[in-house]
Amino acid sequence: MDFKTALFYILSAILVIAALRVVTARNPVHAVLFLVLAFFNASGLWLLLQAEFLAIALIVVYVGAVMVLFLFVVMMLDINLERLRQGFWGNLWLGGPIAVLMVAEMVAVLSARSFGLEAMPAPAAVAGSNTKALGVAIYTDYIYPFELASVILLVALIAAIVLNLRQRRDNKQLHPAEQIAVRRQDRVRIVSMPSEKE
């Protein structure tokens, strides 16, 4: 077993254990941190495939931004562990068959005989930077799917804001432009008064 294969098994083992702990951890904050660990190991697996751009993008996007916001929300929850566990056995009749079905499908795909995965060409090693290769592919061959995906994301973004935006009447807002434009005459009035005598 060469070094790369050994590294693959180590990363995969940690990934699987971390993913299991995400589901089984009692404390949601621990679960989020295990998810971060899982992302890190997935990124390591991509590095082994020489996809360094995707690997680092996974860290920047998921670990650096998405999981931080997850943590932000989870930390603010008042977590009642007993209530979280109540529905577990009640939903098992639905969840169990779905899990079995998913495992069966994964095995069917990954065992590869039925889908002919071994006949597919291995990913060609890109000469030089694969960031450039990825950029060229996205902006030439896949330009329409890429733009379409961007527009869908933008729509989702705006929709999320619109759904949550409520104009409150007692909402106080600052207008920095007006604040900067204020002159002394607007705020202070100098009044000349005769001094009072005792």
């Binding site: 360094e52 930390m75 694969n130």
Partner: protein, 363 residues
């Protein structure tokens, strides 16, 4: 460099006649040893700079406020950081009741590890980076975005109100400024056509001005002037330094995520903060001020130019800390989202259009 070091070891151990026996053992692991030696060669000067940056900060702010600053320990107070380090080293690390014990200690580690890991790809002179990888710029972005976990976990695990508020503020602030920072970097990689730091610096050494002996006019800071400011100010916000230090906010939430920490655990956060400051100063120098390049044609390039540029930005860090009052929280958010992000978006379009016209100078 590697051959030279090996030659030195050979000469040294041959004095005792041990070289052949030693090399037989050491040869298989030599690449590992060599990388470790390079890591030590980066981290030891970095830690020393961190120590003396704290000293320099107290001195500079002292002078700006017409005080003397630390001057008791050693000549001119020069041993002050060593004394501070000793004090922190021997202090007891207290754990609050009800704190999440494991995460309480993971917090400081997660703060300092990315701050040090990011230095792996920084080039100090031509070819002088520990790992000269293709996606260097992206790697640094990933590592700096990790630093926030230390703050959040420390704030949550302390099981205390002020640290928790600090963690809340940190997660919102750092995520916001990361976006402006990343967008500013997009323009840099557009005009240098690479994510590799060495290539980015080399691209700044080309151009009409560089050929006529005025290299500093060919650096990225002129075509990217707004991005230069956006990047450095976002860097100040990203490292939680004044005037954006609401995460610590001594007058409001005591010291934010660091309230419950003492001794070396507290020192870890400080080391991480100052290492990050030096990192931002270095990256600004490398990306916008030509790294190791000499500003004028008749002087040779070299590491000393980078050191001068880094010191300049660190001075600005301290200067603005001594000058500006702390921003209010909503003002920080406004600056990040409503000023910097639109500005970077506009400048990406400007640079992109510029590169498509016949006046493209970035080839």
């Amino acid at each position: 460099m590697e051959a030279l070091v090996l030659q030195f070891f050979q000469w040294f151990w041959n004095l005792f006649g041990l070289w052949d026996a030693l090399w037989a053992v050491a040869q298989p692991v030599w690449p590992l040893v060599w990388v470790l030696m390079k890591i030590v060669a980066i981290l030891v000067p970095l830690m020393l700079s961190v120590a003396y940056l704290t000293f320099w900060e107290r001195k500079i702010i002292g002078w700006m406020q017409v005080r003397i600053g630390p001057n008791r320990v050693g000549p001119w107070g020069l041993l002050q950081p060593i004394a501070d380090g000793m004090k922190l080293f021997f202090k007891e690390v207290l754990v609050p009741t009800g704190a999440n014990k494991a995460l309480f200690f993971v917090g400081p580690v997660l703060a300092i590890a990315p701050a040090l890991a990011a230095w792996a790809v920084v080039p100090f002179f031509d070819g002088g980076a520990l790992a000269d990888i293709d996606a260097g710029l992206f790697y640094v972005l990933a590592m700096t975005s990790m630093g926030i976990y230390g703050v959040i976990i420390a704030g949550w695990a302390s099981n205390s109100k002020y640290p928790f508020l600090g963690a809340m503020r940190a997660s919102a602030q750092m995520v916001s400024y990361e976006i402006a920072m990343g967008m500013a970097l997009v323009t840099v990689l557009m005009i240098s056509n690479s994510l590799n730091f060495t290539d980015i610096v080399r691209a700044q050494g080309r151009g009409w001005f560089a050929e006529h002996g005025a290299g500093f006019l060919s650096w990225n800071w002129i075509p990217l002037l707004p991005m230069f400011f956006v990047y450095f100010i976002s860097g100040v916000a990203e490292t939680n330094r004044a005037p954006f230090d609401v995460v610590e906010g001594e007058s409001e939430i005591v010291a934010g995520h660091m309230v419950e920490y003492s001794g070396m655990a507290f020192a870890m956060f400080f080391l991480a903060e100052y290492a990050n400051m030096i990192l931002v100063a270095t990256l600004t120098s490398v990306l916008f001020l030509g790294g190791w390049l000499s500003p004028v044609g008749f002087l040779p390039d070299g590491f000393h130019w980078l050191a001068i540029k880094i010191s300049f930005f660190l001075l600005i860090y301290l200067w603005i800390r001594a000058t500006f009052p702390r921003y209010r929280y909503d003002q920080i958010m406004r600056l990040g989202w409503k000023v910097f992000v639109p500005l970077t978006l506009v400048w990406i379009v400007v640079i992109g259009t510029w590169m498509m016209t016949p006046f493209n100078i970035f080839k």
